[in-house]
């Protein structure tokens, strides 16, 4: 028997996951119509990590992620219409048309950006957390990255620095089992890309089922609490799977249909819907969430597609802190 508060929260998490799923599916469709400029790395199948993790944060907390970052921005509350406009290169884009899919950022909502060089943002996450540590603020930084990222130097430098400085940062490895086209198992000498390395930084090997939003909340929530209370960093490995290819352009023929089918049985949305039913939420209530989300996504899509392109001269702004791009007199 769950309480009303629990049910409301569970429904809210469900709505967020459904929203992100539908948003990403819409991006995929728009990509196929040639309307998305540049690549689009979708997070379909991995929603429980983004939503579960964001749900344990407070407004002043910070998060930072990768080119597969739409979900992480949306989960922190970034306005979906501004994200969509960024992907479509229309006015009102969240990065003014200068970032695109791989660099979605919403500092206003605590999402410090999406970075497209593997591993680069892990040291940056250390710096965000360091600032809070120096000021004595109790904010926590969450940093998301993939399994493939555990093999680059920046990962090791950042984990070590965070550990020796006892920084309030939680590193979350979304182990979706593939780098771009290569299975992670082919390129690491251990079984678990993040957890098996944790000992090298004096950290505990934390693993969680990344397709179970409640489990994600529990494990990352505990890590966030620890960081907030001065207990230092954590490294969490969340096991998950992307349903689609590395990017919308990738048919992912390097994976067997059986493997994909097996993982779709563990779809985080299906599992959460089952739990909602089990806790007494009606099919109708669950269906209503989906219907509402679909209508909202249609609305922002129509509006975004009707919006004009940004004027070309805005390419020259936002460079230096004075807003200009002048480098000489």
């Amino acid at each position: 028997m769950t309480t009303g508060v629990d049910t409301a929260l569970a429904l809210h998490l469900h709505e967020q996951m459904v929203f992100i799923r539908r948003f990403e599916a819409k991006v995929d469709a728009l990509y196929r119509q040639g309307r998305v400029r540049g690549p689009a790395h979708l997070g379909i199948g991995q929603e429980a990590v983004a939503v579960g993790a964001a749900s344990v944060l407070r407004p002043g907390d910070r998060s930072i992620g990768t080119y597969r970052g739409h979900a992480h921005a949306l989960a922190r509350g970034a306005p979906p219409d501004a994200v969509l406009r960024e992907l479509l290169g229309r006015t009102g884009g969240i990065c003014a048309g200068k970032g695109g899919s791989m660099h979605i950022t919403s500092v206003e909502h605590g999402y410090y950006g999406s970075y497209a060089i593997i591993g680069a943002h892990l040291p940056i996450a250390c710096g965000l957390a360091w600032a809070d540590q120096i000021r004595g603020d109790d904010a926590v930084t969450l940093c998301f990255f993939g399994d493939g990222t555990t093999n680059i130097g920046a990962f090791h430098e950042a984990l070590n620095l965070a550990a020796v400085w006892s920084l309030p940062v939680v590193f979350v490895c979304e182990n979706n089992h593939y780098m771009e086209y290569t299975p992670i198992a082919d390129v690491i000498a251990v079984k678990q890309p993040a957890a098996d390395r944790a000992a090298a930084y004096g950290l505990a090997p934390l693993c969680v089922d990344g397709n179970d939003v409640d489990a994600v909340r529990a494990v990352i929530g505990a890590a966030v609490d620890r960081a907030r209370n001065g207990g230092g960093p954590s490294l969490v490995e969340a096991e998950t799977y992307r349903h689609g290819g590395h990017s919308a352009a990738d048919p992912a023929t390097y994976r067997s249909t059986e493997e994909v089918a097996q993982w779709k049985l563990r779809d985080p949305l299906l599992r959460h819907a089952e739990q909602l039913c089990a806790s007494g939420v009606s099919d109708g209530d669950i269906e209503a969430v989906t219907t509402g989300v679909a209508a909202e996504i249609e609305r922002i899509t129509v509006e975004a597609l009707a919006a004009p392109s940004p004027s070309a001269d805005t390419a020259w702004t936002d460079m230096w802190s004075d807003g200009s791009s002048r480098w000489r007199n």
Binding site: K98, T105, V107, P123, W327
Partner: protein, 333 residues
């Protein structure tokens, strides 16, 4: 006006800014114990270990942590011990901090400084002697400062700390031991303002960092031979005070640009291009560059001298350009 060494000026400039603004924090390898070039002496004791933090040997983490801290409202100053090590963290410098503000539509500022020892002349060899301002000059989004005197170290370092954009400060390791007067009280210079150190009518010598002293010495020798030279210390490559250079060259009709880095694609090539495009009509001869050799720096003294810029080479270049014989100096050593 006290006399400080160039290396003391680094700590003095940092101390001036740390005392003024508690958001200014330092990180780098061995800096809490004064730094391997003794440029952060006394700062840990004065400002405490939380604001003067030793790091592991992790240039990527140093640069990245500086960036993140700046995004979150601090004003970090990161030390990269030898600027050759920028190669290890070039992603953070050239691809993260130089671009993040722009690619997010200006959602945050990056008020940070990365500083360290640059340049040759001390026999440190090919991997600890490079002058690499030109690496950064290829990357829009980085401000580039290269001071030549102790006073400028303080004034430009202060300006870099106060600037809201990423600034790379290149200190010259061969200048650390040089001494000069530093103004009393708070000293801050604007970024992007070149210094005209000497005014002459026949040729404009354009210099930066180590080559400023070479050009001033060359100007003395040229004067003895009846040639009057203007010497301009650019002080910054970004923002670039091109106007001061253009105005001088329009007057003298001759430009000799003296850069320490290899000539293959040194910063002098960029200045030469600006002069060719914007002052062509006023030039009375070709724009000449005196550059470092296109070769890794060797160690043995005569070999390093052979491939490096020098006063002799500046004098020779001007002498050729103006077709004026200048007597060689007989070395007493």
């Amino acid at each position: 006006m006290p006399d400080l060494t160039y290396r003391q000026a680094v700590s003095a400039g940092l101390a001036q800014e740390m005392a003024r603004d508690e958001r200014v924090v330092l990180l780098g390898e061995d800096i809490a114990s004064g730094g391997v070039f003794k440029t952060t002496v006394g700062l840990r004791d004065r400002f405490g270990p939380a604001r003067v933090r030793n790091t592991p040997i992790s240039e990527t983490a140093i640069a990245g942590a500086a960036m993140g801290a700046a995004m979150a409202g601090l004003r970090p100053v990161a030390e990269i011990m030898f600027s050759d090590f920028y190669g290890v963290c070039w992603d953070q410098v050239a691809v993260e901090m130089a671009k993040a503000r722009y690619m997010t539509g200006g959602q945050f500022g990056l008020p940070l400084v990365v500083r360290g020892a640059n340049g040759g002349g001390l026999g440190f060899g090919a991997q600890h002697s490079q002058a690499v301002e030109n690496w950064a000059l290829c990357v829009p989004g980085l401000k580039i400062v290269s001071p030549a005197t102790p006073a400028d170290v303080v004034g430009l370092l202060a300006a870099a700390v106060r600037d809201d954009d990423p600034v790379l400060v290149f200190e010259h390791k061969a200048l650390y031991g040089t001494k000069g007067p530093v103004p009393d009280g708070e000293h801050v210079l604007p970024l992007g303002s070149a210094a005209v150190l000497r005014e002459g009518d026949d040729v404009t010598l354009v210099a930066l960092s180590l080559t400023v002293g070479l050009c001033l010495a060359a100007a003395d020798r040229l004067a003895a031979a009846g040639v009057s030279a203007t010497v301009i210390d650019l002080r910054c490559l970004v923002p670039l005070d091109a106007a001061t250079v253009l105005a001088s060259v329009r007057r003298t009709g001759h430009a000799v640009i003296v850069e320490e880095n290899p000539g293959q694609l040194g910063w002098g090539a960029g200045i030469a291009a600006i002069l060719a495009e914007e002052a062509f009509i006023d030039l009375d001869g070709p724009v000449v560059r005196v550059s470092g050799g296109n070769i890794p720096l060797p160690v043995a003294a005569p070999l390093e001298a052979e491939v490096s810029v020098s006063t002799d080479r500046v004098v020779a270049a001007v002498s050729r350009l103006l077709d004026v014989p200048v007597p060689a100096v007989v070395s007493l050593a």
